[in-house]
């Protein structure tokens, strides 16, 4: 037990800041993910607004080319990796154990490690701002622009290392949730009785496990090129084929699109039945449609590369696969509409956002089918039509879906309701602002405006639409302000929620709001897809605590943040190494030691603090170590 003595003893207190830093409680980790994602959402949003100011008029000199290129690179990277993914993770964390009737995820400390790696990776990448080396190669970082001859500054190094650190955390979380969902379900919670959101979490977790390795490999090759002079992407001296990067990136990148959208689909699939007062239409179909989308999602990556000269056969095959993926997506939309059909629709804010999701996401899907038609794509690729398309999918889809989830589960998370009145205003302002900002972008694309240009000349006659788009962007900003006001007011003064304010049907509504740290006093037994509708008795009172008192939960731990710090600073050391070899090596050595020490402490940490003493007396009774 020498690994965890003195100040390294396992902490007990869950109070204060240290309580949050050492927490292994899935609900607290979920809230950490959510709050962090929201902060980055504001940062990414400000980056977007700065770009929109620049583009509001032709030949603008509001920002220079380098700044603009950094803004769109970091806007994309931030929104994908630091906003939508962790916002999904926030819901996975908070809800999945509650939905399946578990007390926590399978590996609570690993879960905390995932969060800290995400946070530190994101900070590492954004730290480049203070070193005047904001990444500026686009969020998909096409080689050879990212190789040393074309990016001399360390900006691309920050980008590579930040993504690597975040990727480790994400991959660990993928395994954690697969194992949690497959192993920790309450008695009677069969796979086909799981809420749709849990199903989508399971599918997304598998996507993460299979999609992140290609990204990790691509980033590692690039990292070796940049730091150690290898030649994977060196076109000048070594004759590399730059399309290697594109294949590796998009084999990750397209499944990533589904990693971003499936959680929102899950959220919407759970919200619609609640506010229609009837079950999801074709539960099995919607589950399988999700699985088919995920599966096909690995076979469509080259539609990002139709204009790279793949050859006729590959282009035709990927066009076909891309069109095929529209089918399960369409099926989902029809099933959602059929769920509404014949219902008794209560137009509460979560339902409004869910409807916003369905309609806006569908438009994004339709424009997606358009560029699956390769000839059309030769005119649309890399124009504002594409920018419009993926914002309809990622904002109209993911962000509307996630916002629906915020309004729906805020009462469960905080015990208080968000204001319905303000919520509805938020919805309409956001829907209008969203369409003002992104609908005209389709037209700009048709009129030949390429994406990623920091300026355009007046003779192109794109100015009027661009100004309109910029106004729309600020309308969206106002709607986000309304959300912030709503959350800040409701956290303190909102109406008390009670256990099940929406009269919903799934397990998370069978326990108090906010849930106690052990979630379920008694692990429930599940008998149907809608336990709280089919067994009204369950919905009234949570069962009392059993005679032996509160269930035993794992104690907090320092080690996740220590390990995450060590890993991140090894990468930080690499960056320092470029400027100063010995200082960099020293930082790498010290951080490597901290990380290894963290893993050692982690492995030998007792399950709970009070067991230190017990082990000393009865070493033969040492419990199995939890991860």
């Amino acid at each position: 037990m020498a690994a965890n003595i003195g100040i390294l003893r396992r902490p007990v207190s869950t109070a204060g800041v240290w309580g949050w830093i050492t927490t292994v409680d899935h609900k607290r980790i979920g809230i950490l993910y959510g709050v962090t994602a929201f902060v980055f959402f504001l940062i990414g949003g400000i980056e977007a607004l700065l770009m929109r100011v620049q583009l509001a008029q032709p030949d603008s000199e509001f920002v220079d080319a380098g700044t603009f290129n950094a803004l769109f690179t970091m806007h994309g990277t931030t929104m994908v990796f630091m906003v939508v993914m962790p916002a999904g993770a926030a819901f996975f964390n908070f809800l999945v154990p509650l939905m399946i009737g578990a007390r926590d995820v399978a590996f609570p400390r690993l879960n905390a490690l995932s969060y800290w790696l995400f946070l530190f990776g994101a900070i590492l990448m954004n730290f480049s701002f203070f070193k005047a080396a904001f990444p500026d190669v686009g969020w998909f970082g096409y080689a050879p622009l990212t190789t040393t001859p074309y990016t001399l500054s360390s900006s691309t190094d920050y980008w590579v290392l930040g993504l690597q650190v975040m990727g480790i955390g994400t991959t660990a979380a993928g395994f954690n949730f697969v194992i949690t969902i497959l192993n920790l379900r309450a008695p009677g919670m069969t796979l086909m009785r799981m809420p749709l959101f849990t199903w989508m979490t399971l599918i997304v977790s598998f996507l993460i496990i299979f999609a992140f390795p290609p990204l990790t490999i691509a980033l590692t090759l690039l990292l070796f090129d940049r730091f150690f002079g290898t030649n994977f992407f060196d076109t000048v001296g070594a004759g590399a084929d730059p399309l290697l990067w594109q294949h590796l990136f998009w084999i990750f990148g397209h499944p990533e699109v589904y990693i971003l959208i499936l959680p929102a689909m899950g959220i919407v699939s759970d919200i619609l039945p609640t506010f229609s007062r009837k079950p999801l239409f074709g539960y099995t179909t919607v589950v399988f449609a999700g699985a088919v989308i995920a599966f096909l999602g690995f076979g469509v990556w080259a539609h990002h590369m139709f204009t790279t000269g793949l050859g006729a056969w590959a282009t035709a095959a990927f066009a076909g696969a891309t069109m095929a993926i529209g089918v399960p997506t369409g099926v989902k939309i029809f099933n959602w509409l059929a769920t509404l059909w014949g219902g008794s629709l209560q137009f509460k804010t979560p339902l409004l956002f869910a409807l916003g999701f369905i309609s806006m996401f569908m438009l994004g899907g339709l424009s997606g089918v358009m560029h699956a038609a390769v000839p059309v794509d030769t005119q649309q690729q890399d124009t504002y039509f594409i920018v419009a398309h993926f914002h309809y999918v990622l904002f109209g889809g993911s962000i509307f879906g996630l916002t629906a989830g915020i309004y729906y589960w805020f009462p469960k998370m905080t015990g208080r309701m968000l204001s319905e009145r303000l919520g509805k205003v938020h919805f309409w302002v956001m829907l209008i602002g969203f369409n003002m900002a992104f609908m005209p972008m389709h037209v700009l694309g048709v009129l030949g405006m390429p994406r990623r240009i920091y300026t355009y000349s007046a003779d192109q006659n794109w100015a009027g639409l661009n100004l309109f788009v910029s106004v729309g962007a600020f309308v969206i900003a106002v709607s986000i302000l309304l959300l912030i006001i709503n959350v800040l007011r409701s956290v303190r003064k909102g109406e008390k929620a009670g256990m099940n304010p929406w009269a919903a049907s799934t397990l998370e509504w069978a326990i108090p709001s906010p849930p106690p740290h052990y979630n379920f006093a008694v692990i429930p037994t599940v008998r149907s897809l809608h336990p709280l509708w089919d067994e009204e008795a369950n919905a009234v009172e949570p069962p009392p605590l059993p005679a032996h008192g509160e269930p035993h939960m794992p104690s907090p731990s320092y080690w996740p943040i220590v390990v995450a710090f060590g890993v991140t600073m090894v990468c930080g050391g690499l960056l320092i190494w470029q400027a100063s070899t010995w200082l960099g090596l020293a930082v790498i050595a010290v951080s490597g030691f901290i990380g290894m020490r963290g893993v050692y402490g982690w492995v030998f940490e007792p399950v709970a603090a009070e067991e230190h003493a017990e082990h000393a007396e009865h070493p033969e009774r040492a419990p199995a170590h939890h991860a």
């Binding site: 001859p149 000048v236 074709g282 089918v327 000839p375 030769t378 209008i432």
Partner: protein, 376 residues
Amino acid sequence: MTINIRTDSAAPRTGRAPTSLRFAAAALAAVALAALLAACDTPQTTFEPRSDAAQRVHTIYIFVIVAASIVGFLVLAAMAYILVKYRERPGRVPQQIHGNNTLEITWTVVPILILVAIAVPTIIWIAGTTQPADDDALHVTAVGHQWWFEFRYPGLGPDGGDLVTANELRIPVGRQVAITLEAKDVIHSFWVPRLVGKTDMVPNRVNQLEKFKATEIGEFYGQCAEFCGSAHALMRFRVHVDSHADFDRWVASMNAPPEAPAVGSAEEGGLRVFRAQCATCHTIQGVSEGADGPNLTLFGDRATVGAGILPSTTANVKEWVSDVRALKPIPDPREVPIEGVSRVMPTFYVEDPDKDLLTEAQVDQVTAYLQSLRLR
């Protein structure tokens, strides 16, 4: 043309809840505004095809827009109907339906049929791109550089070699053009919306642009469509579609050395400056053989300077020669020496004697000389 866009953009705004009327009105106004703006003259539009290839793409484009708009409109209309009809009313208890196989099979099969209808012209089009070039096709090799375009016409140059020009491609009307795409440094993309869709220019690869036959004489806008570094937004070019006679005259003139400037003229001084300062990088047929920068033969006939970004006026050419970095964000070779990457143009004159490589008078002379290089 914009009618189709309007159908498309009107779709999402069709209302849903009873409160949606005001919203729909606002949306209509927005769309009307968008359509009005779109009616302006936009030289880089994808919707006014002026070649056989662009026309083929355009036909499919309109077809998928119409198909997508119809689907989008029907689904949104169905949604609006459901939302109004099934809104909460006192006493309504929804029937607990779990699914319906017939319906679900229907709405799986119908989208498949629609997608097949889109896939068929797509596949036919892809097959068409593999056709060999016509026997009389004009072959051109286009090379992307950070941040300009080089155009080489094999066999049309002096002694059967390449005829080389930059940033303004000249092609004859009605004759097929087969363009081979290459890149010198990073990935670029060749795109002339009204003539042909884009294909990327990838280093160490040779790509073929879709072959096309221009159907109208005129000047067309092109632009690099793949992010290629700091000045990506300013990597543009023009395509001049000429009559056959004009094209032949241009080819002949490109191959003839320029007349020597009159003794004592500004142009003569400019030629001296050019030989001393510019000739290592820039070629003028019969004068110099630099390979790193754009070929400047017949520069005086170009419509633009700086890779399609500015009209080729005396003031603009002068500013370009003096201080290229005031017009385009390109790295300074004195600050960023890069091994293996093409050299970039120095800053010649910023009224700082310590830095200036030329005097203002010399800049004027070289400007006059470049502008004198005209078609005869």
